[in-house]
Symmetry: C2
């Protein structure tokens, strides 16, 4: 039995991971009689059913002792492969009863994502394969230069068979001639791509990659192999390898909290700060999650998470046309989470959260420093100067940042939840890292991307994220309302034509909506049963959607059909346990989005005054600039949730005003030599 | 004669202001023979013609000694009123020759804005007027409570006569019963509005203000005067007056630069930082301006400024239907600039710029600390973790902030130029302060705004800003290109439907364009004669426009016709000296936008490979939330200019990587009491 003291949202401990693996292995042996070991992918906490968990959280919030709170089952979710076949299983085992609770089997053509063990194995097999080595040798690379292999999900296209096997598309790059391990391989992209079968454990074939430009269409090799990379040059992001010296004129800037931090972390994952409280979660797929978000004890959000993302590329030349990553479903934001380092990833006074992942043997793997928590100054919070007295009242906006960074091959994503004293919650998505590149012949340019370094084509692509917002605005039953500002005719009620009205459209049935910033369209999540005592409006939170360009791929393309969540900016669904995956449970090589958010929405359920979930798709269409190479300056996109008639005044009114005695700023005097009159 | 050493972009000194006033007064006397003193509004530097200034700046950049640089005239621009009439004049005098250089006379119905002397005079006259006092007495306010007066531009409507006189619309508010000078008057809005004539120096009439709700239409008084404000309650932002105590759990957060700052200010206004250099300017109308922006010596922007803004309100009930401020033209962002205080408005090591304004007598007025300059940590600049070695390279993004804050009656605006190491320049606009309010009867609600405090209707409104960007991307001749990502048909060249193309549309003639984020539309300012050596594209900067809702007022309304700059997100014009005012030179009580950006654009000039100016209109449609009262949490909107194939790599590649030894972060250990397994 599990220790009674563990909070139901606390991630599995290392001991629980071991026990979950043993329970399943044991059941498998019993059912099967064979002693072959299971091939584990992931072992993680299966969050309890909402109905049970909510009772527990309410009791907790009411101050009921842990031992007196309602029973909540302790469950582990295990993704694994049967030893003898291509079927993936997602099984839930009870840590209370040591039994199997439920199992989902992957169907024909459905595959688990790429895990770490598979990536390592593929690298070894491909880079030692004689056929691959023979092809590499043709490129006349400097002697002893290491060729490296990026393992891409194979993706799919319109010719993919429904029973296609799991494959891995390998993209090869060479290091610079000095062969330093931190050399930026993306400057030397090889124009061949081995395809690996991780079940048969063998090379399937070697695809050529086209290197032509606008004039060459879809044609492949346009120059002899031995000179194909001759025009590529080293282009390094790693300081020691750069040819120009680092800047020397940047003075240190430190963030100091002499009295310590303003936040508190209890029970391993319960954060409280400036009237906010929430639980931090972490799992292999979504990475960081946020639960039971309350302000001054009032319910705001039940669960906040990034559900999925897809990164399709625009090069139509095979095999690049299949390049489309689902970084959560195919790789896992938790599995790819960076171990953050003090003084490098954050500045100031930082708290880190650790967690546990698992390996292919079902052993726990310590995921150290995968989430960090710190305060930040966010500029002025509010200000007013009384023009009659010249007395200014100004506060600074303190922000609490919960951050996680993931590396998925070449790219980095920085995800951060920002909590503000004014009741606003923001989700920041930042992209950095290195562009996915392919080889282009000297002097050519392409429709499909930009030449960012000699011989290096950085392909145009989109990043489309889907944020899952499970609200509980003063309770579980909420509604979703579209609001727009609408011009009014110039008539008797509007004689001078200055007036407009707010058009409010509540969503009645599960479905979708789209951003329309030019119509001033915003959305509100409200509790229609709770009216604001001042305004008389239902209490709510306002979602200002990002009006990003949606999926560009043809609606009949496999790229599009696999990522229907990116057809619309917003989806509203009625809550069901387990409806977590905007792009479906099995994204790797999917042909369609099966059981994704479009399917949840298609149930056509009542979503007015119901337990609803809001999904927001947003992203970036990225046409690489030369400045995005060799490493990309952070590109940021934020989604905001603002209280809207939730409170009876600005909840940050009581933030102490900003004073020099508290802030100890330093005057930088004018040190110039010109005359006394200031400029 | 002026001192030869002054840089041509250095603002007028106090001595120069005095001298400019004397020159004009002297000319006026000579012409007129009368000894009556001129009524000055503003005296400021008239920036030199670009043709001359550019030669000077090029010489300066080339290292030519100040005394050897080409001659540039030193000019002062004086806005004043003739003593005996309603005509405003904008005259330029030469400080080199003590002569008048040019004069613009306001035409029939054109008026200068409201200056400080006028505001003070109006307050005194209105609040001591017996008719006004008699009306105020009817409201049965607590004894000895002070009534205060906000002076609004009178605006215009479709019935305004072309020769309408300059008027001031006064909005009256009462303090709370304790009559503290910092009491928030906006909680006690009086339903009467005196109209004042600043030429006749007398009350014109007292307008009633409607207090009804949805059911009352345009009707006026709905309750007896003596109980009209009875339901209003105190709602304070000023700490000492708030009924609930301030938060006590916010620990100090300091920004410390132990080795000093990384920027340098020379010659009073020349800033250099991290390869950027620029001149800071300041004038009564635009406030902060930025000039001669270069990166590593390369020309980027000739001049950056906020040109105009308009704030129309949506209440159709007279006189509120005329409520539309042009905060630059009517009031002046420089005239309204806050004197910033160390430790209050900024955090860290701050340099302040002072400037000089002038009063109605033509005397210089010291404008202390009107702009501040400081460095800020902007989070991660770029990061990549090599998944093969787990070696992370991460830099922090240092940002240089040039900031000014203005108070225009109830509202505050925070404007900030942000310079980044990656070559990006951002303009941040933040709105805070107090909502404009009017009285609403107890228990009623309105189409035109939200009840944010008992009896307090905060009217819906828009803030529409127009940013003026005068580029010089590697030289003065630039082009403006619209770019979109366009889906391609699934066909032989795009067999699997994943591809899209970039559609580039250069603007040939001066005109406008609009944001279209769902089409991925962005704009590039490029130099078509300078190709990037890596990509072959013209060097440029990318403008990502804010896709804000544009002006909601009816196209035939006066509100709309006065602010044609807010009809489109983007305008492109051919440069002419003096084309600075998006909403026209005389905005106060204007009936139409005369000689504004729409007129500049209508010249239909060639704008390809020409000296062009880009104007970007963006803003907020603000439907007040209860949370926006009694003081509004900052609402922010940013416009970004990113280098796009301007450099041959990420210019921030050489920023030193982030290390704990440089950053001295502090580990906040887990201080909880739960078991050792981390959550």
């Amino acid at each position: 039995m599990t220790e009674s003291k563990v909070h139901p949202l606390t991630g599995l401990s290392s001991a629980e991971i071991k026990r979950a693996a043993a329970i399943l292995q044991n059941i498998y042996h019993k059912n099967d009689g064979v002693l072959e070991k299971l091939r584990f992918q992931h072992i993680t906490l299966q969050e309890p059913p909402k109905e049970l968990l909510m009772l527990y959280l309410d009791a907790e919030c009411a101050g009921v002792e842990a031992s007196e709170r309602p029973f909540v089952p302790r469950l582990a979710e295990i993704t694994y492969r049967e030893p003898d076949g291509p079927t993936y299983m997602k099984t839930v085992v009870s840590l209370d009863t040591d039994t199997e609770v439920s199992t989902i089997r992957s169907q024909q053509g459905q595959h688990g994502g790429l895990d770490r063990a598979e990536v390592i194995e593929t690298n070894i097999k491909i880079l030692t394969d004689p056929d691959v080595r023979r092809e590499i040798a043709k490129f006349n690379l400097p002697e002893n230069v290491t060729v490296q292999c990026d393992t891409w999900p194979y993706g799919s296209d319109n010719s993919s068979e429904p029973d296609h096997p799991k494959l891995i598309q390998c993209i090869l790059y060479a290091r610079a001639s000095h062969n330093h391990p931190e050399s930026n391989q993306y400057s030397f992209p090889l124009p061949i791509s081995p395809v690996y079968d991780p079940f048969q454990k063998k090379l399937v074939r070697i695809d050529p990659i086209a290197t032509g430009g606008k004039e060459d269409g879809l044609a492949y090799r346009t120059v002899p192999a031995d000179v194909a990379l001759a025009h590529c040059t080293e282009n390094e992001y790693f300081a020691e390898l750069q040819k120009t010296p680092q800047r020397k004129d940047l003075k240190p800037l430190l963030i100091v909290q002499p009295e310590g931090v303003s936040f508190d972390v209890q029970d391993g994952s319960l954060v409280s700060w400036q009237k906010w409280s929430f639980r931090v979660g972490f799992n292999w797929r979504e990475g960081m999650t946020v639960h039971d978000v309350r302000y001054d004890g009032r319910k705001v959000f039940y669960r906040l998470s990034l559900s999925e993302m897809t990164v399709p590329y625009s090069d139509p030349r095979s095999p690049l046309h299949r390049r489309q990553a689902f970084d959560l479903g195919d790789a896992g934001a938790g599995s790819c989470a960076n171990q953050l380092a003090l003084g490098c990833d954050c500045l100031g006074s930082i708290h880190y959260f650790d967690s546990w992942l698992s390996d292919d043997q079902g052993n726990p793997v310590h995921a150290k420093n995968v989430i960090c928590l710190h305060e930040q100054d966010g500029g002025i919070g509010w200000k007013h100067t009384n023009p009659r007295t010249d007395v200014a009242a100004v506060t600074r906006k303190r922000v609490l940042i919960l951050q996680s960074i993931i590396t998925v091959g070449n790219y980095e994503y920085i995800f951060a939840w920002q909590f503000q004293q004014s009741g606003t919650v923001e989700f920041d998505t930042r992209a950095t890292g290195i562009l996915a590149t392919s080889l282009i012949d000297a002097g050519k340019t392409s429709y499909w991307g930009n030449v960012v370094s000699p011989g290096v084509l950085a392909t145009n692509h989109q990043h489309l994220f889907c944020l899952r917002i499970d609200p509980m605005i003063d309770g579980s039953n909420n509604s979703f309302i579209q609001e727009e500002a609408v011009s009014l005719p110039m008539d008797g009620d509007n004689p001078h034509g200055n007036a407009w009205k707010i058009r409010k459209t509540p969503l009645e049935r599960s479905g979708f909506a789209d951003a329309a910033p030019l119509q001033g369209r915003i959305f509100k999540i409200v509790n229609e049963k709770q009216l604001n005592p001042i305004s008389g409006n239902p209490v709510g939170f306002k979602l200002v959607p990002q009006p990003s360009q949606l999926l560009l791929a043809d609606p009949m393309s496999s790229v599009h059909k696999r990522a229907r969540f990116a057809e619309h900016h917003l989806w509203v669904t009625k809550y069901r346990d387990g409806d977590l995956w905007a792009g479906g449970l099995w994204t790797n090589q999917s042909l369609n989005e099966i059981d994704g958010v479009a399917d949840y929405a298609a149930r056509n359920e009542n979503v007015r005054n119901e337990d609803i979930v809001i999904w927001h798709t947003y992203g970036l269409t990225h046409h690489p600039r030369v400045e995005d190479y060799p490493v990309m300056p952070v590109e940021a996109i934020s989604v905001s949730l603002h209280p809207a008639d939730f409170f009876d005044k600005n909840p940050a009114s009581d933030v102490p005003v900003s004073t020099q005695s508290a802030n100890s700023s330093v005057l930088v005097p004018y040190n110039g030599t010109s005359s006394s009159d200031i400029f």
